[in-house]
Symmetry: C2
Subunit: 227 residues, 2 copies
Amino acid sequence: MSASRKPQAKLQSERLVDKVHGLLHRDILSGKLLPGQPLSVPEISRQLGVSRSPVREAVLQLVADGLAWEEARKGAVVAQFGLEDALQLLEAREVLELASVRLGAVRATSADFAALKQVLHSQQLSIQKANFRGYLASDLEFHKLLGSLSHNPALGRMVGLLKDQSLLAQDSVSRSLVQLELGFKEHLAVFEALELRNSEEAAGALLKHFKRIRESLENWLALPRHS
Amino acid sequence: MSASRKPQAKLQSERLVDKVHGLLHRDILSGKLLPGQPLSVPEISRQLGVSRSPVREAVLQLVADGLAWEEARKGAVVAQFGLEDALQLLEAREVLELASVRLGAVRATSADFAALKQVLHSQQLSIQKANFRGYLASDLEFHKLLGSLSHNPALGRMVGLLKDQSLLAQDSVSRSLVQLELGFKEHLAVFEALELRNSEEAAGALLKHFKRIRESLENWLALPRHS
DNA sequence: AGACTACATATTACATGTAACTATGTCAAG
DNA sequence: CTTGACATAGTTACATGTAATATGTAGTCT
């Protein structure tokens, strides 16, 4: 009798749409799909061995995520951000994440702190191993956690979407290990202020983080050699 | 020969998807489709006399807009916000619109001011005629314009999405003419500060607006009779 | 009555068909 | 060499088919 438990957690959200969306999402952020590249529905459906319907829906999802752009009757392409766009995304993120952190300093739970701690730890490891990809992934996680600190679903969701776009936007901008380490230290400063529930100091520390990144981007913009 | 000009500007973005999406969007915000109501794809396609494909895509769009909620294999329903949700939406909007206004005080163009002026005028008319629906429509416009003042597309887009959701969320909350007039006066104060390019005063005035709305919502929440 | 099963109905999720449109390459004329 | 007509290939947008799934209801057993 005990053998016939419910099929249970097996096919929870096993929809093809979600799998395809997840796959494309991954491939875009990992750089496997390059900015500007067309997302041809028949092509993708052939490669994945599924029909066009779920692929079409997945691509639409990506458009809604801001990771792909669509032009009517021309199809979608992987989003391609210029440096102008990157700065605007950064500006929007600054607004949202500062607010999230201010609210989060008050509302954060111990689970939130634990999650932050874990991500910071993995960042430290990535830096020690000079693992760029790894750092970028945990950086993504860190900022998304900042968004969820607000315990405001709308804010959290938007922070996540913008950070993904921001990652894609800065894809081309090379970053040195030194900058990664700077970023990590700034993350730490935010965390420490949060732990003390000092919202203004946390916001201030995060502001510094954004300011440095913005200036770094602007410098890169001013430079002549955009190879 | 001259008779055979191009079909030209006729079918610009005449996609069925867009028409269906626009229609449903309208019907949701206008209250014709009630919160919680299922958005059955075959049903809608029958009523509109189109196939299921464009309807399915339009519904997915609405989900992305935050105006409908989807559960896997159960379909989508019109979003149904509680008062808690309404407060959270308001919180997020406050963050985004305050930032937009601060940036807008610096960046706004004369075209922006003209657009604001026009919307404020139409608000005044709506109040004089005690036209609630009309006021709500121009209120929507006003806040969306505040979002676009930032000249940051990401911010502007999010402000618009949140304001739409907020409208749907407050649908149930009755509002008196007195409150509308208060809102209008607060809008005016924001505008006047903007014209002087005084970003802090503009932000302060908008903050007052949000504060009053929030308190009004909270009172309503505290009240026993949620008919 | 209450709970379980069986059946009927409707919808979702995925697959596939096809007309119209877009982009691209070829080739002749200027 | 450039321009524009034309054919070709690939894609989008919409339509439709269908198995699996969810939901509602009647009937059966305890």
